[in-house]
Symmetry: C2
Subunit: 513 residues, 2 copies
Amino acid sequence: MNGADALISTFVANEVTACFANPGTSEMQFVAALDRNPQMRPVLCLFEGVATGAADGYGRMADRPACTLLHLGPGYGNGVANLHNARRAFTPIVNVVGDHATYHRQYDAPLNSDIKTLVTPNSLWAKSADSPDAVAGLAAEAVAASMTAPCGPVSLILPADSAWLETTTEPAIAQKPVRPAPKGEQVEAAARALKDAKKPIILIGGQACRAEGLKEAARLQAAGVTVYADTFVSRQPRGAGAFAPRRMQYFGEAALAELEGVDLMIYAGTTQPVAFFAYPDRPSVLVPEGAATLSLADRAEDAVAGLAALADALGAPKEGPVQPLKLPDAAPSGKLSPQLCGVTVARHLPEGAVVCDDSVTSGGGIAVPSMTARPHEVLALTGGAIGAGLPLAIGAAVACPDRKVVSLNGDGAAMYTVQSLWTMAREDLDVCAVVFANNSYRILNIEMMRTGSGQAGPQASKLLELGDPAIDWVSLAKGLGLPSVRCSTAEEFEKAFAGAMANRGPMFIEAVI
Amino acid sequence: MNGADALISTFVANEVTACFANPGTSEMQFVAALDRNPQMRPVLCLFEGVATGAADGYGRMADRPACTLLHLGPGYGNGVANLHNARRAFTPIVNVVGDHATYHRQYDAPLNSDIKTLVTPNSLWAKSADSPDAVAGLAAEAVAASMTAPCGPVSLILPADSAWLETTTEPAIAQKPVRPAPKGEQVEAAARALKDAKKPIILIGGQACRAEGLKEAARLQAAGVTVYADTFVSRQPRGAGAFAPRRMQYFGEAALAELEGVDLMIYAGTTQPVAFFAYPDRPSVLVPEGAATLSLADRAEDAVAGLAALADALGAPKEGPVQPLKLPDAAPSGKLSPQLCGVTVARHLPEGAVVCDDSVTSGGGIAVPSMTARPHEVLALTGGAIGAGLPLAIGAAVACPDRKVVSLNGDGAAMYTVQSLWTMAREDLDVCAVVFANNSYRILNIEMMRTGSGQAGPQASKLLELGDPAIDWVSLAKGLGLPSVRCSTAEEFEKAFAGAMANRGPMFIEAVI
């Protein structure tokens, strides 16, 4: 048994059983050890941003980490953007970053770099296993660190010699971290403040937006407290049977207009809401002037327990409101739009579907009719780094092979991690990947005006428009091994999407909007 | 005039006139300012790894930096791998990393991250312009820092408010850094050591491998000193009229076997050679036992001046050996192989062509016959992070619109930055992009054996083989807007490559090997 075996057997002993990988020479021992440890499922990704995004999707759905296998600093670097999103989703991930043999580092070979510094901004925990005997213990520590609330990505650096040298260490077992319930006085303070407030709201996020949190939040809604959810949430049930909190609006001034008159904001599983971007003369903090604020449960605390205790303290009913099942009767027709796509999606989304949403300006059109669709869950883009929607779907499908996964993407976003389509084909994942092709970074045309930059002229437009040449998405997806179809009308989209929902396996749809 | 105008006008005043970009909301002022500063050429890349790799290719060919425009930490993160390669190529690049407005940073909005730490490993210089009045001065400082030997990427962080607020600062002019010549005693010591040595070699790299460096190195060869070049060189002339130094072999034990008996190694423009990777029981340092070593000129010094002075001190002839022009007579035939591709490339490569090489295991087949092809230059993968070959070609073609650019890529490597093909089409670049499709990370099958990991079993093979499903490269390239052709025979490749060389504009060739 070598260090690589110790690593994989420790992972497996801690239920880390999926590895999204793009290895190189320094990771060959890990690769070889996979044949001796078949409980670990290796999933090849043709680019590390796919691997890290897939690990994010997996962790959100499995509630335990996958590992990634990345090739030194540059391999990790390619994964940074989706690790940023995962950090913002509080997703447990254990990154295994291969490194040169310990004694080889000093020679500064071409692939050498300062891995420790590179991983810092997106790692809750980062250590290097500098001997084979250290591997198992650090691997267990890494798993525990990634699952310690608020949870997130961690980085275990694995020098090549720590992997290839022999060790006799047993698999180490990670401590199971407990998420502490908020203190009684936090709950009492919140209950008192709510009784005194004229127009209170409670803002939920993270763990509080999961199924159990939504149930408790619905009780508060029933007791007269308006519930808002963060704009972008890691994982949230939607559709029939789920409570549908209001959503904090994306643009700050719209959010504040909606919150006018609110005199109390309570946070559960989240914190003070702020604008996604700053703009000249627009607000950064989205708390109405004069409103009191109070934390019921921060991201490291058990927000579900906090919400339940608060609901009990207020004498809220045992059950709150949930969405009815109400599917659009008629198939849509005419020239395709995000709104018409949304009608079709709502009609055909099967129960238990997982929707991975990176659809930027097209997303609203889907979200609205899906509010009363069959019960499903939504994984949103939490960190703002586009290119998450396709990789998230890979991870969700690996974690939940019995659930249909739908990936909704803007064209600009999908192009970031287009390599994902190959892994969907390779692993025969039950994913329907949709790309909304508007041939533009549409959001930037809107943002251009909002930042006071004015109308884009000919030079600026070169950086905002994708239509010259127009990307042939069907040709791309076929090239990567996926059955695919282009839809320009609502009828075509209805037929394609219904077919994808009815049949198992990967499918690609270009929605021309 | 706002901070963004101050930035672009300072860049233009310092001959930084190309911007490889993928902007977001925080960069909208920069984008808008492009319309007011038309001397700056914006080139949209659909992924930041393409932008940074293109800036690398541009800087290698133009000998002055391009700028990139990247969207906060995640945008920079996507560019890390090719910035690693650029750092290892000593290429001047000025990264402009947009950030939240200074006052907005404290609120930790979703796209917030520790940019300063993230840029550290791959930046020779990194500062944030925290007021509009600071922008011009820091931009000039950034340009100077990137061009100060040994040269490399730098990072200027640009908060959104520093871009949108007014300023009256004039464009700042960067100091032109001078590369100091090595001291007289270094040259004298090298001359003395050479006279005493029985089997001396000189190892050249970086600046010493440019046209002028090769000329002086050839004089040393004529004087009886065997000249070796680093395995991977940023930019080096090849073909007729160029001196062809020997190349340090990739595998350490082969390199040392070739160097057996060498008793003196002198370094010019480079440093001690080391193995690309460590392996169990194989050497890390590629200096023969007992050999003396000596630095004629380090990477920050003027190696060309050092070589010239040393050649003079040895009384070397004014001219050294150069390669003859010797093109393969006959077009190759039969089933395609890298070697047959090489014959065709050597036959048709036009004078002045720039070859961007990320072809991994297929590369040797091309290099050998090209040694006597028409004069051309080669840009190699300096940092080992695959995915450089396509972006380098974009940058080289933007920098040198009158030269044919040929991009040679392994299939695994090309998939990393496949988005590059779209920018080639968009900008109508004179690039012929070739992908060698062996449906495998072939190098890893070799490395698997070398690391002592044994033969890949079924699990390990899942991470090494790309053939299931096989990527249809022609479909991919067409989807991204490029005319493209698949070649399975040498006759087909000969026809396609000859056509691409004879006609201006982008062209894609899948070479099935």
